[in-house]
């Protein structure tokens, strides 16, 4: 489904991250993403950080397209198509959710749906996203910052490992930088704890035909972006390499 929507509301989440809200009727599930078209600039994948009839995307400014999105005003229009991807399997298991940086975006609809504990990781206190809202849904929200400016001093994986060892979680759901996810996956594997991780690859079509988002034999856009432990084990590229827009192998 391809549409043009009007931005209803923009909220600044941190110095480089904003959330844009718009009404869009498409039925979506937590963990799915859309392609956002900023005419004349680019079309890029964005996770849905709300999946109700009001949808949101939470965008970190990292380059041209994300800067153009940050320059938008309320009332401006963007193109959206989707929803794409499989989404998380919300299965009722006792869950630890781990979000690194803007990786919190696709996790918010999960937290709104299931009862889970949460680790939010970021480089420093002013980059911690969604803490306030998350505390409304989760009994236990823990924070880690690389620079120690808030909560646990260290990375989210270290904090998550400590929580896994204390708690009796049955699964881990996470999104964030791939290197973090890779360490988290290994930590879970060591403990025999199943994971669902949301990954990213360069996307062009988002409908599963162009092959630009391949991760091993999997299309991240349609077979993913969420992968469970069983599939992650079969993906030697996970945590190691990705493909550039030309399809060349690039180390992570």
């Amino acid at each position: 489904m391809s549409d043009v929507v009007r931005i209803k509301r923009i909220s600044q989440e941190s110095k480089d991250t904003s959330t844009l809200a718009f009404d869009w009727g498409a039925h979506t599930v937590p963990g799915q993403f859309i392609m956002v078209w900023i005419p004349g600039i680019d079309e890029i994948p964005m996770s849905l950080s709300s999946t109700g009839s009001e949808k949101t995307v939470t965008v970190r400014k990292v380059g041209d397209a994300t800067s153009a999105i940050h320059a938008l005003q309320e009332g401006d229009r963007i193109g959206v198509r989707g929803p794409y991807g499989n989404g998380f399997d919300l299965n009722g298991l006792r869950t630890l959710v781990v979000g690194g940086g803007v990786g919190m975006a696709p996790l918010m609809p999960v937290l709104r749906t299931v009862y889970a504990d949460l680790v939010i990781g970021a480089r420093s206190a002013d980059e911690i996203l969604f803490e306030e809202e998350a505390r409304r849904y989760c009994s236990n929200v823990e924070i880690s910052t690389d620079d120690g400016s808030l909560g646990f001093h260290g990375n989210a994986v270290q904090l998550a490992e400590a929580m896994m060892d204390k708690g009796d979680y049955e699964q881990v759901i996470a999104c964030g930088p791939e290197v973090m996810l890779h360490y988290l996956f290994q930590a879970c594997e060591r403990r025999g704890l199943p994971c669902q991780l949301s990954l990213e690859r360069y996307m062009k079509c988002a409908v599963g035909i162009c092959g630009s988002c391949m991760l091993g034999r999997e299309r991240v856009c349609i077979d993913g972006p969420v992968f469970d432990s069983e599939r992650l084990r079969m993906l030697p590229e996970f945590g190691r390499s990705r493909r550039d827009p030309a399809g060349r192998i690039v180390d992570l």
Binding site: S2, V4, M35, W37, P39, G40, D42, E43, I44, R77, G79, R81, K204, C205, A206, V207, G208, I209, C210, G211, S212, M214, G216, R217, R219, I222, R243, D244, P245, A246, G247, R248, I249
Partner: protein, 302 residues
Amino acid sequence: MTDLTVSISSIKMDNPSMLASGILDETGDSLLRMMSVGAGAVVTKSIGMLPHDGHPNPCIVETADGYVNAMGLPNPGMEEFAEELRVIMPTPAPVIASIYASSAADFATIAVSMEEAGAAGIELNLSCPHASGFGMEVGTDPATVGSIVAAVKDAVKVPVMAKLTPNTAELVRIGKAVEEAGGDAVVAINTLKAMVISPEFARPVLSNRYGGLSGSAIKPVGVRAVYDLYRELEIPIVGVGGICGWRDAAEYIMAGATCFQVGSAVGTVGPEVFTRIIEGLEAFMGEYGYPDLDSMRGAAHE
């Protein structure tokens, strides 16, 4: 027992389905995946001399009954892609390397590199409707087409097929030029030159403005093209355009196709489309008394 095996010169296939160029075929692993769901052969993404990012996004639009795309021939370039192929060789099904270039000499160079890397055949992309200096722009003149085919035939031992554009009234003449230059097969059709405009933004959606229409929408045009070619050519025809089920494949075979390719349906139906088409085709051939593909090919001409 229904016999689904078929060959195009030295390319031997267990069944007549091929993955179309540009569809999940830019990496070794994706090619292997498509073999695992039953593709009788796979055609690679069109490969050029040098790595190329392709057009910026948006490069695809979903339409009611297909896609309009302008990927702009993204590919990792001949050298890196040859390495992808070497790693997966030998493969359970033949790999045909699609290649593009702007001169006959470059076509030949890339073809040699692909042959060395293990490609069982070469498909010349003479038909991409949205890449300037390549594709369709080299593929609408019979003489140019002939010279490219001849140069590549000279350079490699594996069979060479030429993929034709439907965006011309000269399709059959160009097919003839391929045959006369020694080409082993023609592939028809590539996408139809198309455009999608966003009313709200008052501009073409694709960054390249122009794109190519594929999917069910174009099937009747592709079937007609194959039918036309079959009347005039001796060499095998590979049918492509809008195939998403066994009936579509059967239409192409009866129009005269030796093999067929599936592209867009890998998105609209899923990769399992290959398994389903082959099973459906086998059941149909059994029920209607076609022991093999030879007995069915061109049946609509009688």
